[in-house]
Symmetry: C2
Amino acid sequence: MIAYCVLMTVVDPASAALASLSQVRHAIARTTTAERVADAVREEVTEGRLRPGARLPEQALGTALGVSRNTVRESLSQLVAERVLVREPNRGVFVAEPDREAVRDVYRARRLIEPAAVRHGEAAGPVEVVAVRAAVAEGLAAAAADRWDDMASANQHFHRALVALAGSLRLDQQMSLLLAEMRLVFHRMPGVREFHEPYLTRNDTICRLLEAGEREAAAVEVTEYLNAAERQLLAAYDAL
Amino acid sequence: MIAYCVLMTVVDPASAALASLSQVRHAIARTTTAERVADAVREEVTEGRLRPGARLPEQALGTALGVSRNTVRESLSQLVAERVLVREPNRGVFVAEPDREAVRDVYRARRLIEPAAVRHGEAAGPVEVVAVRAAVAEGLAAAAADRWDDMASANQHFHRALVALAGSLRLDQQMSLLLAEMRLVFHRMPGVREFHEPYLTRNDTICRLLEAGEREAAAVEVTEYLNAAERQLLAAYDAL
DNA sequence: GCGTAAGGATTGCTCACCAATCCTGCAATA
DNA sequence: TATTGCAGGATTGGTGAGCAATCCTTACGC
């Protein structure tokens, strides 16, 4: 296999270039209708225009988006798999309402993944650390401009950048799912600003440690960050 | 919300009992046809009866399983999301053929998750360690009886049990996806027996360390295990 | 050998339809 | 009063036919 590729490179350099193009094929490939519908619904949910618990009737969605009910069904199934929506058999699909246990479970996973990525991530090169710094800057800028929604997004970018230190596409995708679920948690409670603001300086601290190469210290800081965030969220649930 | 539940308990104990029943609701819920089709296809793939690269025409599947093409499409979409199948737009869906890079990516993720679960898992109680021991015993028994397929399954149970030490349902599911992908890797190459057998004693070693409470040492052992397995698989790819 | 056109097969998607299930409201009953 | 029973309407789960677009194959012409 490898020998074959090498051979091709020797014989015909252009072929190798073409072969590498096949990796971006999915980018060229026209997005399917079902995907676009799923993207649209997902955005409505993550942006908070569809609140947790809201019902999504297939017929209504179909006519609203100008696509058939079958296509809608396909999209909804995908979002159910992503935990953005929940299907209740013979009743319909609803925007998920993460409960206390969901929060605890998500944080158990995050406490495992994020510090480990910071501590032992195999792709923690300068480029990846720069991405972390960029997310921190994005958050500070958004806060300075009073754009609180953007600050929340920047915070997600920060955590995504931390996991990216592991250099695993599959882990990145898993993290995206967890963060999408966190968005739903935030939409269930008030005070997004109050929640995220204190973490701006924490993010900066973690990033500085990373830039200084002190990964163990950074990992410890991440763990404390996550513990504090979980405590705060659970307390908010109690007060609900 | 919480106050309301407590109130109900005080006023009417039977209501609390009924409320607890809602937690097993999903167990009652009749499985949908699309799900069953997905399960069937997934099993065909993981059992190796559908080889990597095999094509799955929607029409043929539908008539073979006695369901409509729409239902088949829904099932296939789900399996594509699980990475068991790959969809090539306007061409069809195929059993995935994990390449070298897929193997490297999966192992990057596993090297992050598994040692971290062993090292810092928050649910590493006696019960969970017993589950690890059970998987080790299962593998030894299968090997003693020359049931090599069962030994491979037992090995997967072992790694699932390691991740279960973290106590996160979401992490468990992510691990299931990674292991399903590994099954496809094994089906692409010969010598399942030769590959798995040497790891029986390693599994036992890791389990002993866990039982002795030496989690750090166990985690190091898991890391070396994964490194060795990845090297062996990549070498097998080169020889392909 | 290489480009190209015709033909067939499959996918992506729509539409119309039906049975089963669920929800609602209302009457009947204890 | 509170529960039970029961039409009715709405929604879901699933089917089948059908059509345009795309892809693959093959044959043809140069």
